[in-house]
Symmetry: C2
Subunit: 150 residues, 2 copies
């Protein structure tokens, strides 16, 4: 079988979700909520729509996750004074207090996955994954599709 | 920010789904159905439960995807003669005819992601991803969790 980034990434992603759902139980977070929290730790004060685009998660799922995170005390949503239809998402003090623990669970998973593999190869994998992630984050997929679909 | 396999894999996975949903439209397949088809191309004649475990996709989602794939003519489900409660999944002739095209769409995505990156680094990334995928496929996550959760 030809090597496929898509297949390998999918296998790892699904196991990742199973692991994180279990590992984040003590933080009252699900694996799908984690993506939002990690992105907001990096930069909050952005709109719901911006978050949705950044994570490539559709608007309905984004709205559900943020509603849940608000109920759990991780984020607060305030009306954007410049655009009454848009919500601005702010991370709470509570979420900040949880950050270290949440990140530790993510790091444990990385350590577990990579513990038996040579350091240098792991570094190369990270560099390649980061290049690919940057590439997909910076393009509009629909435009690209045409050119790669011949 | 510390490098996280989970974060990078999640970013790539979500974009992968967006790409595949578009690229597989002509095959009347969704990105989430693709995992089942690719796994069945490799080995069919297995039970619904075995597929669910192998892909780390829960039973309800597995049942939905297989029902949809049956309606679209990609798989047929027959009762297991040795276990009347279990379904055996067989890939259809139609699915076999689509295989080349479906795999080509997956390959296009890999080519697009890796086209600007040195061949040797891409090979290393594949080797590391495969090691990690084998590791997660071969363990029972729940057991492992305890040891990595301290």
């Amino acid at each position: 079988m030809t090597k496929s980034v898509g297949r390998l990434v999918s296998v790892l992603y699904r196991r990742n979700q199973v692991y994180l759902d279990a590992a984040l139980k003590e933080y009252n977070l699900t694996a799908s909520e984690l993506a939002f929290i990690i992105s907001l730790y990096k930069k909050d004060g952005i709109s719901q729509e911006e978050l949705s685009t950044r994570l490539a998660i559709d608007k309905a799922a984004t709205a559900n996750a943020l509603r849940s995170l608000e109920n759990k005390g991780y984020v607060s949503r305030t009306r954007n004074p410049r655009d009454r239809r848009a919500n601005i998402i702010i991370i709470t003090e509570y979420a900040r207090r949880m950050e270290k623990g949440v990140r530790k669970q993510l790091r444990n998973w990385t350590n577990f996955l990579t513990e038996d593999i040579e350091e240098e190869s792991v570094q190369t994998m990270f560099e390649v994954l980061e290049k690919m992630a940057k590439k997909v984050e910076s393009i509009e997929l629909c435009k690209k599709l045409g050119g790669h679909d011949e």
